[in-house]
């Protein structure tokens, strides 16, 4: 019992990634426990999205391992990788809805592709997912007709359609008003609790992070320089971490 539950949901070991001459990840070591909200914070353009893409296999590291539930996904072929991905849900920064499909069709997409359910069952699940993100009855709308916040919520409904065990959120609250941000953060917590999913969140919103996270990891200059629960992080002594957490323009982190 203990062995299976303690196994990290996701692990990065000594991951290096460069794009041309630009080194983005320089030896990232990360252990994300299952069934918890894990938040990765860091500077804009610091490599957080790149890190997230490694977890889902959209990028392959130049060196190092990426383990999902104990399995190294770097060496997997497309077919096996597809199998691993079916256990994931991902919310992209701009929601990445298919703009030629309606809201309903977007949320139904993973169900249609990966489950053999009849139309009625699919409709039930889609309506339930839309209701859980507060968009009941909006299935007929097209993505272009929605506000940014609504699109994100549809994206979340789609990410959760198959009740995945691991859900990735790429800056879920960026560009949203405080009320909408709070609603999305509640949803993340509910995803963890109701669906028993491991949540990996990339965020700039320190306040929300402190409220919702179980574990926080700070990515700085290609490495994880701080990790722990919100209490530990808020007391972290490294001036880089302190400057970031308290949102100060002056400090070791330069705004160039």
């Amino acid at each position: 019992m203990a062995g299976i539950e303690d196994k990290a949901a996701i692990e990065l070991k000594n991951v290096y990634k460069a794009f041309g001459t630009q080194e983005v990840l320089k030896g990232v070591d990360l252990v994300l426990p299952p069934d918890q909200v894990n938040v990765i914070i860091g500077r804009s353009g610091g490599g957080k999205s790149v890190l997230l893409k490694h977890i889902i296999g959209l990028l392959k590291p130049d060196a190092g391992q990426v383990l999902v539930q104990g399995k190294d996904i770097v060496s997997l072929g497309e077919r096996d990788l597809a199998g691993v991905r079916r256990g994931f849900g991902m919310l992209f920064q701009e929601a990445a809805l298919f703009d030629s499909l309606s809201v309903f069709e977007n949320v139904a997409f993973p169900l249609v592709e990966h489950r053999s359910m009849d139309k009625k069952e699919i409709a039930e699940v889609v309506e339930a997912k839309l209701a859980s993100v507060g968009l009941k009855g909006m299935g007929y709308k097209m993505p272009a007709e929605l506000s940014g916040g609504m699109r994100k919520r549809v994206g979340l409904a789609r990410a959760l359609a198959l009740d995945p065990k691991i859900v990735l959120f790429d800056e879920p609250t960026s560009g949203l008003d405080p009320v909408m941000s709070a609603a999305i953060n509640d949803l993340i917590l509910r995803t963890k609790e109701e669906f028993r999913a491991t949540c990996v969140v990339i965020s700039h919103d320190i306040q929300a992070t402190m409220k919702t996270a179980d574990n926080i990891f700070m990515l700085y200059e290609g490495r994880i320089i701080a990790e722990g629960d919100p209490q530990t992080i808020s007391e972290w002594e490294d001036p880089v971490v302190r400057q970031f957490i308290h949102g100060q323009a002056e400090g070791p982190i330069k705004v160039n």
Partner: protein, 244 residues
């Protein structure tokens, strides 16, 4: 990226598409939708260009042939030119401008808004979902459009030659039957299928590998049309040399 490297990448996309074509699930609905978009919605444009091509061809050849009192050959000339060359090439260029650019723009936009990544993340091959239906539809539909263009071009040539320029109708038609062979038509349609493959493949390639936001999409669209058009004309020469 230099030319050779780009040709290599295009070839890789083609092989990937061929692989995914054979693997289920087979996306019939997407295929049919692309047939409608690339084919059905191009009928008007293709008919119009075919018509005027045939008409101007009749006009030009009439003046040349009348110097040798060979006006009756105008019909055959139009028919042979349309079926062997102008039908396939001009149809392909028109469809490239219309559908080829649209394919690049649509896939390019999907790429920069992360919709392509979203497909991958949901364990769906973007090549199978986006590229294969388009390429297959283009290969099937271009010969059909070309056939329409050929036919209307000859009709246009008839209208100009017989009705406007007074060539004897019976002689006009007889010469066509005498000189036009099934081979001419079939070779032209084969060319059309190859052109269809090229325009869809390059549209998909440029769209798929777009980067750089809205400007990138615009650039991809232009490059797709230019590259496809050039390759269509180049391959036209090669195929003509082999076939005729």
């Amino acid at each position: 990226m230099d030319f050779a490297a780009e040709m290599g990448q295009i070839m890789l996309l083609f092989l990937s598409a061929a692989y995914w074509l054979l693997r289920p699930p087979y996306r019939w609905r997407l295929f049919l939708r692309q047939m409608e978009f690339i084919g059905f919605h191009s009928i008007f444009v293709v008919s119009l260009t075919g018509l005027f091509t045939g008409m101007v061809l009749a006009l030009q050849t009439y003046y040349a042939f009348s110097m040798f009192s060979a006006e009756t050959l105008v019909g055959a000339t139009v028919a042979l030119s349309m079926t062997r060359e102008l039908g396939p090439v001009i149809t392909a260029l028109m469809v490239t401008g219309r559908a080829g650019s649209s394919i690049a723009a649509e896939l390019g936009t999907m790429r920069v808004t992360e919709q392509v990544d979203a497909l991958t993340v949901m364990a769906i091959s973007p090549v199978q979902y986006l590229v294969v239906p388009r390429i297959l539809a283009a290969i099937v539909v271009l010969p059909l459009l070309t056939a329409i263009s050929d036919f209307i071009g000859v009709v246009g040539g008839y209208v100009v030659g017989v009705k406007l320029l007074g060539i004897n109708s019976a002689m006009f038609m007889n010469k066509i039957y005498e000189f036009l062979e099934v081979e001419d038509i079939l070779n032209g349609l084969t060319k059309a299928a190859v052109f269809g493959l090229l325009l869809a493949l390059i549209g998909c390639y440029k769209g798929f590998y777009t980067s750089g936001g809205a400007e990138g999409v615009g650039r991809a669209t232009t490059q797709a049309v230019v590259l496809a058009s050039v390759l269509i004309l180049m391959s036209d020469y090669v195929m003509t040399a082999i076939m005729f």
